[in-house]
Amino acid sequence: MFAQLTQFESPPVDFFSLTPLFILVGGAVVIMLVTSLSPRPIPGWFSTAVSVAASAGAAVVAMVLWNDVRESGPYSTVSDAIGIDGFSLFFTVLVSLGVIATALVGDAYVRREHIAAPEFHALLLTAATGAIVMASANDLVVMFIGLESLSIGLYILAAMQFRRPHGREAAMKYFVLGAFSSAFLLYGIALVYGTTGSTSLIVIRERTSSLGAMVSPSELLIVGIALLLVGFAFKVAAAPFHFWAPDVYEGSGSPVSGFMASVAKAAAFAGLLRVVVVALGANEGDWAVPLAVLSAISIIVGAVMAITQNDVKRMLAFSSVGHAGYILVGVQAATAEGMSSALFYLFAYTFMVIGSFAVVSVIGWDNGHPIERYEGLAKRRPWLAGAFTVFLLAQAGVPMTAGFVAKFLVIKSAVAEEIYWLAILAMVASVITAFMYLRIVMAMWARDADVDDAPRLAVAPATAFVVAAAVAITLVYGIIPDSLIEFTRDAVPALVAGN
């Protein structure tokens, strides 16, 4: 290390592997530069187009890299700080798709709410870059940088709804609790660094595996793991560290809430899987049971709190807490199967939740999103109501939807490890949550609702496209999930050194 200092050599960088990141950041830069330097005002669709194109490009490059990785195996670059493996590429694709969907839904949203379009899209792209960096990080420092680019971008995105008092309040809460949880995570990282002597996940894994043979594992490491769990639990909105989520989801703009519930949650899970499950895999005994408990609490809290809500967005927020719990069911199994089931769940959930928040965005804000405003939606916009029904039933875990297969897979991974109590608890709680989803469905399809004087709902074509695509993905992967299951099975973090 010191030798490097005295005679500095820049580490070899495989630039092609980093192309997805460059494209996304480049998109953000292009948006900011063009819109601020142009003498004439640039129409809003320009920013949308750039962010969609950039994320589509990133996804395509990721698929190319995916082919390479399948043929010649995973590798690391930038002196082992960035891992290019199935896992990171899976999240690159997932995050890029999430950005495309959010950007398209956000297009109409920023226009309606008079939010600066270039900033919205640029922040979306930088936040997405952070998410991908988190998923690719082979080093705790890089992980931290990714986490912060994601978080800071999201703080501002949450604050963009600043004309409403709810929006300002949500931004403040999100910022304080986000920074608070980052500090916990960092403290955990510091302790892990202290006990293992390295910030590289590859080295950490080597050292903890050999430490595992020692008679007594270091107490500091256990405290470090505990703090990491707390930090990640905040980020994925797992109970009892979830209390920011309902307020923030409610107060932020609906496309942003969808982005938080999908991409931000996925990135946090990526970090959790990479750091805790893989790098600290030898210490499974220290984190598996706490994760199972977190999972159980999240599922219960998500279910019980969701049914007491009257605001659709808060319902979705609490259900998002519950879904974090279901994903944790797969994570705590600590097996390859469990991990791939968690990835499947994240993929399926991303589209269900972005679609749901897209519908919520169309309905719009009027002193909150009380469920009464959804009454008779089927009469006003039958296809929109149908799509929302699909998303809600998918979240409830009704068969023929990706949500069912996701639940099926995580429960299967828990059962395979003989963790029956959690499997039963998760399934029973899913019945309680179903009550909440059915309430919304029932309200939408109420035949006696009086909708004659309701204002006409404008569904922008881009939003309609996102909703339709999300429905298609939810149904297709619900009926023929095989290809996605295989995809997630290949997407395990490799943590290998060198290229």
């Binding site: 059962v415 499997a423 039963i424 029973v428 309430r439 095989d482």
Partner: protein, 534 residues
Amino acid sequence: MTMFASSATSSMPILTWLILLPAVGAALIAILPKSMPGLHRQLGVLFSGGAAGLSIYVATQFDTHSSGFQFETIQEWIPTLGISWHVGVDGISLWLVVLTGLIFPIVLAGIDPHGDEKSYTAWMLMLQAGSFGAFLALDLFMFFVFFEIVLVPMYMLISGWGYADRKYAATKFFLYTMFGSALMLVAMLTLVSLSAGDGGLTFDLVALAERQALGVNTARWLFLAFAFAFAIKVPVAPIHTWLPDAHTQAPTGGSVILAAVMLKLGTYGLLRFGLYLFPEASVHFAPLLVTVGVIGIIYGAIVATVQGDLKRLVAYSSVAHMGFIVLGTFAFTTQGISGSVLQMVNHGVSTGALFILVGMLYERRKTRAIDELSGIQKAAPIFAAVFTVSMLSSVGLPGLNGFAGEFLILIGSFETRRWWTVVAAAGVILAALYLLWAYQRVFHGEPTDADLETPEMRGSEALLMLPFIAAMVFLGVYPQPLLERIEPSVDALVTHLEEHTDYERPEDVVIVPSDEPDSSDEHVDESESEEEDH
């Protein structure tokens, strides 16, 4: 898996088409514009009628002497998890499939949903596709998918087209059934994961049933989870409370389908996924289930007696009837189980008819309260006559269909479950009591002016009732075509029980033993067929 694929007998996947045809119809109707009134329903009748035709074709081509699965199709579905699209029909499912095939077009053609025919028809067709799927599935995952997916259209039908309290009833129906399936899913995954041997994971019903890889205690727990899910669906007391609400609040068409088809998923599930998958546990818990069944018979009958709402009364009579089916199922004799299977069909016909009649009565009088109706026979003698026949069929009068099933169940169970059978027989008398009493109050007595103005049955309504009455009479006097297809499979199931447990069926039950060639590839065993004379 390949060894099962080779047993596929049909070149054309007719059973797959049976599931797909209504589903395609539903999709087609969903995309047709609303502006074409009448067309949706006609298309619905066409598609469900097409499925009915296919189901009848299956019944006619069904090999009477075979106890195994016929018309089998195996297609890989999710190979990474060992899940396949495996459909097949045997004597146990055959008539339920035919019933599902026939009742939907009748309901669609004959019962006016009162509003939004397009969605109503689409949901009905989806329900038909789902029910076919559940009855035909020979893969646990596939069964579970269909078992649960049928909740959605039924939920929509109740909540969309039902009566005043429909939202509560629909939600209750959905959540009750989902709760049962939640536990069943965990049990199913446990079964699959513990049975995974050298061949890897498989969700194939036949493979799992033949493997019997579980320990005794595990199998018992899993059986309880499965049985609980099915018991909710049947339903057996005390977890039946969703049924009266769902039936009463559902639109007439929904009630008919609920009674005729969806309740059968529970009893069919007990046979297919209880007895067949967990023989030892079934034998172990048989006293429990038989007791629950008998409680259902008596409880349903008593509660039906005190109902003031005619539709609720019929709903509770369903609880009693389903209790008989559970009793017969866990009698473990060929007659008992055959009687149960036959009774599933009978119950569908007679209770379905009663629900339609109550619906007609409601349309005429806007009430179902027994107190507010009286002497309707004077105003509508034909209506009363049709009601009488349906009611007597439900009571189990000899010569009508209810008798054949109940009689077989009672003989079959008497050998193995003597005292339960005695109590159950009292249920038959109670059934006569509450149905006749209700009939007497509604159709006889002193009519008021309103009663005298009750319109008589119209020609179209009579046409709707005709197939039901015909079925009641036909199945009552000549159930043989059904029984000779049911019995080989049932017999093989009882043999399966004997092979895997220390249970032995009583010898003297066999009335006329005869050797029949058995072409099944999983149970090469002697099979008996019984002659029924009454």
